[in-house]
């Protein structure tokens, strides 16, 4: 047993962080807040870096890596608040032409959700719906061109993620080659990885602010009331990390559901505590804290929530 990152995995994580720091810095992030249309040039750069083809065999032009490596890359995406249907691009890179290279952008919609939401509707070239409801999620996948799908406007709470409410998705073409339960499981895991990245990032933001901000003649991070909030944030992120990484290694559906639950809690509660540590500034549009919180809310609602996870883990106690 060696449940730690290998040297290659650390290099992949560091390289991804460096790439995103360079290509999606704070100016780009704030520009995306003002105009959330996806940057197609950036999307192709992400594809060139192997974001989407990461797990495709090298013979097919992929990078030939596994689920743990994908989790590390998506953790970095969550850290950077990188917008767009990244999970769909990664999961469908081998199934839909042009996705691996970033030429086409595809969205993956949970047809069992209520309402059915589609992210970045104006940017997507293809929509894929997964049918089937919890807990078994056995169902088919259908694909549609965006123009063929009836949808209504939806005022997304997250300024980085435009949404549309799909009102009729029943007329798409069946895509029989897709393993729907596997897509759901891996979408949940990669979403959890993004939540983990966000949770770890908000710890850093809170700590950075607490060291810098002075009140009563001392950095506020020297006060236990603030210190203990920050410590609690790290504990949440680290427990979620252990669960998310383990689920990446086992690939087990139950492990994924538990990891998603802990990562959702860590991302949402850490963003809340980060906001609190930032005080009045945390409540402003200008601070980035709200972007983490809002995205965390969106991700927590996608691909299996707390009720589903706790019921499954309760069942596992008596099986």
């Amino acid at each position: 047993m060696d449940f730690q990152l290998t040297a290659d995995q650390r290099a992949l994580r560091d390289g991804t962080r460096e790439l995103l720091t360079g290509r999606f810095d704070r100016d780009r992030l704030r520009a995306a807040v003002d105009d959330p249309a996806l940057d197609r040039a950036l999307w192709r750069e992400l594809a060139d870096a192997g974001f989407f083809a990461l797990r495709l065999p090298e013979a097919d032009g992929g990078v030939g890596l596994g689920l743990p490596e994908a989790v590390l890359v998506f953790e970095e995406a969550g850290r950077a608040l990188l917008p767009g249907p990244l999970v769909a691009g990664h999961l469908l890179a081998g199934a839909v032409d042009g996705v691996a290279t970033g030429e086409r952008i595809v969205a993956l919609c949970d047809g069992s959700a209520e309402p059915v939401l589609c992210e970045h509707p104006a940017d997507c070239d293809l929509l894929i719906f997964l049918e089937g409801s919890a807990p078994e999620h056995v169902g088919r996948a259908r694909q549609s061109a965006p123009a063929e799908v009836a949808h209504a406007p939806y005022a997304s709470v997250d300024p980085l993620t435009p949404l549309a409410r799909v009102t009729d998705s029943a007329h798409g073409t069946p895509c029989d080659g897709l393993d729907v339960p596997r897509l759901r499981r891996e979408a949940a895991l990669l979403t959890a990885a993004q939540q983990l990245g966000s949770a770890a990032r908000t710890v850093e933001m809170a700590v950075g602010h607490a060291r810098q901000r002075t009140q009563f003649g001392a950095p506020i991070g020297s006060f236990q009331a603030v210190k203990h909030l920050c410590a609690g944030m790290l504990v949440r992120a680290e427990l979620a990390r252990a669960a998310v990484y383990a689920a990446a290694v086992t690939g087990d559906a139950l492990d994924v559901a538990g990891a998603k639950l802990l990562a959702d809690e860590a991302a949402v509660h850490n963003a809340r505590d980060c906001l609190q540590v930032h005080g009045g500034m945390g409540f402003t549009w200008e601070a980035d804290v709200h972007l983490h919180l809002k995205r965390a809310w969106l991700r927590a609602a996608a691909w299996g929530g707390a009720q589903d996870a706790t019921e499954r883990w309760a069942d596992a106690l008596v099986d």
Binding site: Q9, L239, A314
Partner: protein
């Protein structure tokens, strides 16, 4: 990231399982919780069985009489012994997890030869004399004085929260040898015989009704200078070695045990109809997620220790914060499952619910753990 075990590790696990299946049925029945001499005999006998089978001091270095096992093998040992229902480390806790590793790391060859083998054989039991009535979380405020008189220290003061004091042979004792020095620099670490004249033990009754620990009064107790581990006045540093061991793997077996209790809670809830209450059912499911993740965090921390050469990292504080809270949540959920029976002090889950209350206090309160996490891991400034 690899969660699979090597062939060697699997072989170790298989040998251990075979041995446990062979010896556990031969073990005498567990004595009553109040029978302290009986509990000492029982724990010592188990330790002797481990010693004879080559499992004593598994994680200790070979030159200290241990087996030099990897942290992963130690994890397997703790997991398998707990799953098989083997006795907990019990009265041997301080010897095997605090005093022994400290002597192994800091003692002279003669000191190691004197004290380590009897710990491994279960012949000698140790207790811990660290906390004092006015030095709890602020351990460095300790005032028990040791004054040099020829080849001995004359020790006067009092210690508190000393587990197994009534049955211990030795006490790992922190004393102030230099009252003038800055407080962290005037402390020494002594091995004190509990039968020395001037040692008085007064058991303390816990809120659970039992006498798990004691106050120890020291009135001019003579401790030979040769019983000092490490340099004079260097006891604080010596002690920190000990405490990091305590926070490393001390709770591994307990996580396994908590997961077993949780499964029993679910079975009981199914039998008494409370399982149909979705709120309670999901609460048990949420606890299942929590303990499964704590097990993964343990594997993460153990793997880290393996890479750094066995030194437990600060991950222990992260683990303890979450685990101590989860254990209390587990027994609060048990009370929900029990319903009216939750007020029956004779029920084992009720007794465990009471003892769980100590977990956020003992071995560093949750508040102190948060300070450690915030200052040592996150780098926040010291303050109040």
């Amino acid at each position: 990231m690899d969660l699979t075990f090597t062939e060697e590790e699997e072989a170790f696990r298989a040998r251990l399982r075979t041995w446990l299946a062979d010896v556990l049925p031969k073990l005498p029945p567990k004595p009553a919780a109040t029978d302290w001499p009986g509990r000492r005999r029982h724990d010592a006998a188990w330790q002797r069985m481990l010693y004879d089978a080559g499992y004593a001091g598994l994680h200790w270095p070979v030159d200290a009489g241990g087996r030099g096992a990897t942290p992963t093998q130690h994890l397997i040992f703790l997991e398998e012994t707990e799953k098989a229902g083997a006795p907990y480390v019990g009265a041997n806790f301080v010897g095997l997890l605090h005093a022994g590793p400290t002597i192994a790391a800091e003692g002279t060859a003669a000191q190691r030869a004197r004290w380590l083998p009897p710990i491994l054989r279960g012949d000698e039991i140790w207790c811990q004399g660290f906390s004092e009535p006015d030095a709890g979380s602020d351990l460095a405020a300790l005032r028990t004085r040791a004054v040099r008189d020829g080849d001995a220290y004359v020790v006067t003061g009092s210690k508190i929260w000393t587990s197994h004091a009534e049955v211990a042979d030795w006490c790992e004792l922190l004393v102030r040898t230099d009252p003038e020095a800055p407080r962290h620099r005037g402390i020494s670490w002594l091995a004190m015989p509990m039968d020395a004249p001037g040692v008085t033990v007064r058991p303390l009754r816990t809120l659970a009704g039992s006498t798990e620990f004691a106050e120890v009064f020291l009135d001019e107790v003579r401790v030979p200078v040769g019983h000092r581990i490490g340099a004079e006045h260097d006891g604080w540093r010596v002690t920190m070695v000990t405490l990091s061991f305590e926070r490393g793997t001390a709770f591994v077996g307990e996580v396994v045990a908590c997961r077993r209790v949780l499964a029993e809670l679910a079975r009981t809830a199914r039998a008494n109809g409370r399982w149909d209450d979705a709120v309670l059912r999901r609460r048990l499911g949420r606890l299942n997620v929590e303990f499964a993740a704590l097990w993964r965090l343990t594997q993460w921390n153990v793997s880290e220790a393996q890479r750094t050469g066995g030194v437990p990292g600060t991950g222990g504080s992260v683990f303890k914060l979450r685990y101590s809270h989860a254990r209390q949540e587990l027994y609060d959920a048990a009370a929900e499952v029990l319903g009216g029976q939750a007020l029956d002090a004779a029920h084992p889950w009720v007794a465990d619910r009471l003892s769980a209350l100590s977990y956020t206090i003992a071995a560093g309160t949750s508040q102190i753990q948060r300070n450690i996490v915030a200052e040592r891991i996150l780098g926040l400034p010291k303050g109040r």
